[in-house]
């Protein structure tokens, strides 16, 4: 069944009203996702990746945000849809695994109650059926002695176990699309590997589409079909995973990869840091948002914002002087380097 379009986001803008003016957290993002596929959204803190995923879910506060553009799930427009409409989608169609397993569970409710709640509300299961389903879910996500854990409170579980419970809750009503926002951040490496394996396996079994939001290029490198790189509220590069790593065109993507230490590199390998820091989203620069930190920036970059263009099938980037061998401008500018 894969290949059917599940999610279409077009020119999505999200801005927050703050006392210092309007903060433009997401500035015209478009993306699409087919059934059964995995999309990685990569960016550093403040890049807008979490706001984007929450806007798709419809979880942002209405009073203080302005959201324009279009988010279509299965052809139906869901951006700014009323909550009672969204509630029909949540859990049964789109579900989310949140970033922080320590605080995302209700601390005063037993694990069992938190898993059976969506089953009773959305699938109208009886108490007994819900418990049976919940126990099998706990088993599927690899929780030992599920009968005991069913009665436990979140504080009695480790971080990895809590994240498994979060995944069980998200999967309870068999969603078609799973949004995972930093699902392994804060977990130990051995547990991270277990959780990523679990997500891949469940996704395969259920033919579920997944959006994996992370700051870690390592997490998305082997587990996604396509990657979107975000910087300061913009998509700066988008490509199939293999293409992105092999022929990245946007200097920011390259900088992000080069500043990541690798196990494969010898010890004391000098990292290429990105100097400076991301722009203030209250006063974004007029040109390319990365131009103040870009080693290849030319005058044009500071003046005009490059559009996101599709240069090869499936590979788009927003850069005036992309990193291609044929481009003579792609050498470090001595003035700004």
């Amino acid at each position: 069944m894969s290949g059917r379009r599940l999610l279409d986001v077009e020119d999505l803008h999200v801005s927050f009203a703050t006392s210092r003016g309007s903060l433009r957290a997401v500035q015209g993002v478009s993306l699409s996702l087919d059934q059964g596929k995995t999309l990685g959204i990569v960016g550093e803190s403040g890049s807008g990746k979490t706001v984007l995923s929450r806007a798709i879910m419809g979880l942002l506060p209405r009073a203080s945000t302005t959201q324009t553009g279009s988010v279509r799930y299965n052809g139906t427009e869901i951006l700014n849809a009323p909550n009672n409409e969204l509630r029909k989608l949540w859990s049964t169609h789109i579900a989310m695994v949140f970033q922080d397993p320590m605080t995302s569970l209700n601390p005063v409710q037993r694990i069992g109650n938190q898993i059976t709640e969506p089953l009773k509300i959305h699938l109208k299961l009886s108490k007994g059926e819900a418990k049976e389903t919940a126990l099998s879910l706990l088993m599927q996500v690899g929780i030992p002695s599920p009968v005991e854990r069913y009665e436990a409170y979140p504080a009695q579980l480790s971080g990895g176990m809590r994240q498994r419970v979060m995944i069980a809750i998200a999967l309870a009503c068999a969603p078609r699309l799973l949004m995972a926002d930093e699902p392994t951040t804060g977990l130990d490496v051995t547990v991270q590997a277990q959780i990523l394996d679990l997500l891949s396996q469940l996704q395969h079994e259920r033919e579920m589409a997944m959006i994996l939001v992370t700051h870690d290029l390592g997490v998305v490198a082997t587990r996604t079909d396509e990657i979107i790189v975000m910087y300061a509220g913009n998509v700066v590069e988008r490509a199939p995973t293999n293409v992105l790593f092999k022929s990245m065109a946007m200097p920011y993507t390259e900088a992000l990869l080069k500043s990541t230490p690798r196990i494969a590199d010898p010890s004391h390998t000098r990292l290429t840091a990105i100097e400076g820091r991301p722009p203030d989203l209250l006063n974004p620069p007029s040109g390319c948002p990365f131009s103040p930190r870009c080693p290849y920036a030319q005058e044009k970059c500071h003046l005009e914002k490059p559009p996101l263009v599709e240069a090869a099938p499936g590979h788009s980037y927003a850069c005036w002087y992309p990193l291609t061998a044929s481009n003579p401008a792609a050498t470090p500018d001595p003035v700004s380097a």
């Binding site: 590997a193 390592g218 995973t241 230490p261 690798r262």
Partner: protein, 329 residues
């Protein structure tokens, strides 16, 4: 720009710090947690030793015991010629000028109500080093070195800075007294990768300049490999393996080290896809397994592992492992 040769040249063979059979326990009776259960290692003058392990393995407690924030239950910690665990409070205080620590959370480890320049000069004020003008001058120079402009930013308060900048300020504060030993506890784990690279490079530069000896505690295997000359792996309160960085990552001898490396993700789609090498989670440190503490999750465990605690032994040049059946033997 990498300077491994310079690194090894400044590493001498005399230990600056040696830790012998260190135990740190919390609580009492049936609920005693053995956070650190008998570890022995030495830090040579001028080297960076990485201490890596998962949460709860006792790596932070080890660091805190070395700077004497946590009291050792038993064992010896020798810094230079001084045995730290039996020092009086006054002597210990003097010693703190030579041993400094940098913490994980850059923002909460700085006093939010004080100006940055005062935060950095406070150690000098406490030790009455120089006149007031000289202290300000020294602190300004130190801030400048960590990449914070003292004239523009010196009068600002910590909340006006990003996490990376706060970590720079913490580094300036730790180095202003020119310590010999620096204990870094997860100093980059709260930072974005681009900022993390800035801080790691800065630390490397300052290490050369001040001839620092560093104990670098972290959970990120790639980060630890990048900064360390040698790496020690910890599991459930005990050391599994110590070796020079490149050697340890290339030919791990302990099954736990190998499992850790197999679980790590690399930003490379061609890299073999990692899959969980270990199932389950570490057992409780209140009631650790008998014998080798890793045996309950070890693929190679035999009856001997439950009966006999494996001692650290040399299996190659400066490569030590605590395992009855090490890999590659």
């Amino acid at each position: 720009m990498t300077d491994t040769t310079l690194d090894s040249a400044t590493v001498s063979t005399d230990p600056l710090l040696s830790v012998e059979d260190l135990h740190v326990s919390f609580g009492r009776g049936n609920a005693t947690v053995q956070a650190v259960a008998g570890i022995t290692f030495a830090l040579r003058q001028g080297e960076t030793l990485g201490l890596v392990g998962e949460s709860g393995c006792g790596k932070s407690t080890t660091g805190r015991a070395i700077v004497q924030v946590e009291k050792a239950t038993s064992g010896k910690i020798t810094f230079g010629d001084t045995e730290l665990t039996s020092l009086s409070r006054g002597d210990l205080r003097t010693l703190r000028t030579q041993v400094q620590m940098i913490f994980q959370d850059p923002i909460s480890s700085l006093n939010p109500r004080r100006r940055v320049i005062d935060i950095v000069s406070e150690p000098l004020t406490i030790w009455k080093i120089g006149s007031k003008e000289e202290r300000v001058e020294t602190s300004r120079a130190m801030l400048d070195q960590v990449g914070i402009d003292p004239y523009v930013n010196g009068s600002r308060r910590p909340r006006e800075f990003s996490g990376g900048q706060c970590q720079r300020i913490s580094i300036a504060r730790a180095l202003v007294l020119k310590p010999k030993l620096l204990v870094c506890d997860e100093i980059v784990s709260a930072l974005d990768v681009s900022v993390q690279a800035q801080i790691l490079n800065l630390l490397q530069d300052l290490k050369q300049q001040y001839n620092l000896t560093i104990l670098f505690i972290a959970h990120d295997l790639a980060v630890v490999k990048n900064v360390s000359d040698r790496v020690a792996v910890m599991y459930l309160g005990r050391l599994c393996e110590i070796a020079p960085s490149d050697l340890l990552y290339e030919t791990p001898a302990h099954h736990y080290t190998a499992a850790l490396l197999a679980s790590a993700v690399e930003p490379d789609p061609e890299a073999p896809r990692t899959s969980a090498a270990l199932t389950g989670e570490p057992p409780s440190p209140i009631n650790p397994p008998s014998g080798c503490r890793f045996r309950t999750r070890c693929p190679r465990a035999e009856a001997r592992c439950a009966e006999e605690v494996p001692e650290m032994r040399e299996i190659g040049p400066s490569h030590q492992v605590a395992c009855h059946f090490p890999l590659g033997s």
